[in-house]
Structure formats: structure tokens, C-alpha cells
């Protein structure tokens, strides 16, 4: 059965970056912030307020889950987050949508516009 991701798209830049950072492995909040900065070469930085505001929304929508237990040696205040199956589907649909946008942009920008 295919799920309909349409109502959740397009994702906001913050949500997209958070989901992308969780696509590889489970991370805690600070880890997500660092991964987002790394992925965007420091051009997009999330503060903790923006991060948790979006994480709360993504968890309510069922795109992100809280990981069951952090490693034993870790700080107890850290909580780990992971991408759910539904979240992975939404992220894939968003990437597909963005690929379409990029394809269109390339077609229109290939030839320089002539003045009439």
C-alpha cells in the first residue's frame, strides 16, 4: 500500500535539514545541529529553539521518533532521535519533488534569455 505524503509537502528548510541529518543515523539534539551545519557547509545553522520547535512538530506528525535508550556512558540529559519509516518516505518524496524543481530550473536556465 502506498502512503500519501502530499499534505506534508513541501517541507520547511529546517524540517528538511533535520530529516536529512537523521537519515544516516540516530542523533541527539546537538548532534543534529552540528550535522545540519556540516551538510550545508555552515550556511544554514539551527539554534536549539528552532530545532526543538521543529522536532516537536515532526514527532507529532510521526516523522521522527525518540530513540529508546541512549548509550550508558552518555549524558542523561541527551535524548536520541531517529527517522521513522513514514519519515523516510516523506523525505524521499520531498527529494523527488526537489529533483523535479532542479530539472525544471536547469531546462529554463540552460539558454540565456534573449531580449525582445
Amino acid at each position: 500500500m502506498t502512503e500519501d505524503y502530499g499534505p506534508l509537502l513541501p517541507l520547511s528548510p529546517a524540517a528538511l535539514h533535520i530529516l536529512l541529518s537523521l537519515a544516516g543515523e540516530d542523533r541527539h539534539g546537538y548532534g543534529i545541529m552540528q550535522e545540519v551545519a556540516r551538510q550545508s557547509d555552515g550556511q544554514y545553522k539551527l539554534g536549539p529553539g528552532t530545532l526543538y520547535d521543529n522536532l516537536q512538530k515532526l514527532m507529532t506528525q510521526g516523522l521522527v521518533d525518540s530513540s529508546p535508550k541512549p548509550p550508558a556512558h552518555d549524558d542523561p540529559r541527551r535524548r536520541y532521535y531517529r527517522l521513522s519509516g513514514f519519515g523516510r518516505g516523506v523525505l524521499s518524496a520531498e527529494i523527488e519533488r526537489l529533483e523535479g524543481v532542479v530539472r525544471e530550473a536547469r531546462i529554463h536556465l540552460r539558454a540565456p534569455r534573449r531580449a525582445t
Partner: protein, 148 residues
């Protein structure tokens, strides 16, 4: 600055605060030097605004209450302003004011606070508040149905 940030976290809605404030404070401790305490603080202000305005529904109740209070204040002001104007008209010479002249003007602002006036205000307040709460309840149900 850390204390200010803690206060800011404390001002967030209780549900959000219980779930994320410890983690946010931990990140603040880790990132304050590299990211700058001020930028983290302003990010927190943004999150506070979003949480109360977009995510929480309490603001609608607060809005209803403040509109009801505004209604009362405006009602009181108009009674003071229009009542005063009515009173000034006949008093050409203040030294020979006949108080009987004022009897039929009956400006609320210049009457002593009677049970009748208190009841009038209470009915005004309760009626306004009820209408607003019912209206907001319908609006919220409508919005919830649209989100679903």
C-alpha cells in the same frame, strides 16, 4: 546570560518545557561559546513566540479574555466621555448650578456605584465573553477539521 536563557525556557508552554527544556539548556551550555550566547537567546525568543502563537491554543483564550476586558474598558470610557459632555452643556454658570437639571441626563460615570451598575457591567462582561468563547470554540473545531 544563562539565567536569562533559563527564564526564557521557563516561559515556554508547560508541555514543551517538560519535554525539551533540559536538552535545550544542555545545548546552550555546549554551544554558547561557539555560537554566541546572544544568538542562542534570540533563537529562544523566536521559539517562545512560535510555541505560544502557532503551536499552543492558549493564546485564543487569552485573546478572548483581553477582548472582553477591552470591551469593558471601552464601555467605561464611553460612559465617562459622553456622560461628561451631557453634564457640561447646561452648566453655563457653575456658581448657580441647580442639581435638579442633571437628573434627566443620568450619566453613569457620575453616579455612585450601585448594585444596578455592577449588574449591568457583569451582564455585559459575561455576555461578551460567552459569545467570544463560543465563537472561538467553533473556529477551533473548524480549523481542527481542516488540518485533519
Amino acid at each position: 546570560m544563562r539565567l536569562c536563557y533559563r527564564c526564557l525556557l521557563w516561559l515556554h508552554p508547560p508541555m514543551f518545557r517538560r519535554e525539551f527544556s533540559n536538552e535545550m539548556l544542555w545545548i546552550y551550555d555546549q554551544a554558547a561559546r561557539t555560537e554566541g550566547a546572544m544568538s542562542l537567546f534570540f533563537d529562544g525568543v523566536g521559539s517562545l513566540t512560535r510555541q505560544w502563537v502557532l503551536r499552543s491554543r492558549w493564546w485564543k483564550i487569552a485573546l478572548a479574555l483581553s477582548l472582553a476586558v477591552l470591551q469593558i474598558v471601552l464601555g467605561g470610557f464611553s460612559a465617562v466621555i459622553f456622560g461628561h459632555r451631557h453634564l457640561e452643556a447646561p452648566a453655563r454658570d457653575p456658581s448657580v448650578v441647580n442639581m435638579a437639571e442633571f437628573a434627566h441626563y443620568g450619566a453613569i460615570a457620575h453616579q455612585p456605584l450601585t448594585v444596578g451598575i455592577v449588574m449591568y457591567l457583569a451582564v455585559f462582561f459575561t455576555g461578551g465573553l460567552t459569545i467570544m468563547v463560543i465563537g472561538l470554540a467553533f473556529w477551533m473545531r473548524h480549523c481542527a477539521r481542516r488540518v485533519r
